[in-house]
Amino acid sequence: MIRGCNADGATGGGADAELEWVDASKSFWRGGRHNEAIRSVSFSVGRGERVALTGPSGCGKTTLLNMAAGFVRPTGGFVRHAGRMVTGVNTSVGYVTQRDTVLPWRTVRRNVELALEIRGVSRRERGSRVTECLDLVGLSEFDRAYPSELSGGMLKRLLLARTLVYGPRALLLDEPFGALDAQLRLAMHAELQRIWATLGTTIVFVTHDIAEAVALADRVLVFGGAPARLVMSRVIEVPKGLDPFQMQFDPACVAVMRELWEALGPEALRRDSNLPERSPHSAQVTQ
């Protein structure tokens, strides 16, 4: 296969790559028709790099994440993590789903403990590591609460803590803050920045929100089209830690966001005319 359409330097760390998607493709049969969802997408994410995947709804961003986690097997190409091919479930990544996938019958502490329990960590060590993680995300006061007692933002923190507790090499976040209101989302952005500054973990996250992508990522990848392919890979060199209001007045930010919008815009429109069953709102990329 030719890597033609991705030749714009979509490689992050070169030899130092944490995650690599190589000619990753996904097609499936639906209603007797062969559907190509993703066509030969290649990019890599360097160690400690934060990369945002963005693009219109249903363009396969989540599928790309799922490939790295090993939930979905690419029908063409492959994904490599730390130099090794991902063939089964990849237990050296942390995955934060779009939905709040916690175990409702376990308290906050026991939810966070789960990974360590499964990995056979001794009870004593489990206790201290869970406490550390709950401190990191600011949930230590709620360790005995059940998930049903938590607010939306606290649930996200719980998901993060549960993922961080076993020290995954890379974090895969699928629209982690999509369901939160704007204010909470900002708080979670700060939280994620802080966690990254502390741990330096590689982060790959899917988002619909261009501002979120620019605020958090070192590099933004824009996907589009049907079948989906990589449209643009843009290194973000703007000051981090600005709120959306400040970002509006930062010329570098504005320029980057305009560029990303333009990369997205026509793609999104073309996609909609192809798929009449999708509402026109699916082309909207910010919240």
């Binding site: 789960l114 049903s148 007692e149 076993y166």
Partner: protein, 297 residues
């Protein structure tokens, strides 16, 4: 309701602390009693467990009174007996040991049927739910079997298992088995796929997934099945007894029917529903202690 804001605050307090109404309103430090507060307090009181209990008791007594009135003045005791007559009969039969003789045998049948049926339903449901293909094949067959009325199965079971206790256990167990089967089966099919994925990434092997994810998520469904099937365990035993038996509540009722003894029939009905309610509340207690995470607020 035209209450100034401090009172509105107090209303909220009253409704979040329903117990306050029970000690004659002495809990409120203020002497003010704006209009509408009484209603508010009544509602708060009704939402308290003790309040609900009292309301239930009231409704129960009302039904008994209506029944008694109908029996005395409208329809006549011959047709519908009367609570007082039923109570007297229960007292009499309890005193001479006849009642316990019948109740104990029915309880035994229902208990053994319930346990065996529940166990069978769990195993079958777990197997059919875990092996998708098998489940798909078996589902319509089990649904077809489930549709057979217990009353129609009873004569067959009597033929197969004899007139003794075994045939009653079989009828009772069958009904329970199907209900528990469908609940466990549905529970297994409904385990959240996203959760499965997430737990797999955390490093879970098959046994972890079964013990830490599937089992706890199926428990909710299992308890639902147990609660729904509990009365049917009793009904199955009684129905089989009514077809043919020499002991048990069903026998007692059939006997009463033959003697045009409406009171005897009502004694049977009252016993079956009473036992059902008692056992059901016991099961609910058990559920609450096992699924403690469910009733946190």
């Amino acid at each position: 309701m035209n209450t100034p804001s401090p009172d509105a605050g107090q209303l909220r307090k009253a409704s979040t602390r329903p117990v306050a109404g029970l000690d004659g309103g002495a809990a409120g430090p203020s002497a003010q009693r704006p209009a509408g507060r009484g209603w508010e307090r009544a509602r708060a009181w009704a939402e308290h467990p003790l309040g609900i209990f009292c309301l239930r008791l009231g409704a129960f007594v009302a039904i008994l009174l209506i029944w008694q009135a109908l029996a005395t003045w409208v329809i006549g005791g011959f047709w519908i007996s009367a609570p007082s007559t039923v109570a007297a009969r229960i007292g009499k039969w309890a005193a001479d040991g006849y009642l316990w003789q019948q109740v104990s045998i029915t309880l035994e049948e229902a208990a053994v049927g319930f346990v065996l049926g529940a166990a069978g339903g769990c195993i079958l449901g777990a197997v059919a739910g875990y092996y998708r293909m098998l489940g798909k094949v078996l589902e319509p067959i089990i649904l077809a079997l489930y549709s057979m009325p217990a009353i129609a199965l009873a004569p067959l079971f009597l033929l197969w298992f004899g007139l003794g206790i075994t045939s009653k256990i079989a009828v009772s167990g069958m009904t329970v088995l199907f209900i528990v089967f469908f609940n466990v089966y549905t529970g297994l099919r409904n385990v959240d796929q996203d959760l499965m994925n997430v737990v797999a990434v955390l490093g879970a092997r098959r046994r972890h997934i079964i013990l830490k994810l599937i089992l706890p998520s199926v428990l909710t469904y299992l308890f639902l099945g147990l609660k729904v099937s509990l009365p049917f365990a009793l009904i199955g035993a009684v129905v089989a007894e009514m077809v043919s038996s020499t002991r048990g509540i069903g026998f007692m009722m059939q006997n009463a029917v033959n003697l045009y003894d409406t009171t005897g029939v009502f004694v049977g009905l009252v016993l079956v529903s009473g036992i059902s309610v008692l056992l059901g509340s016991g099961l609910r207690r058990l559920e609450q202690s096992v699924l403690r995470w469910k009733d946190v607020e």
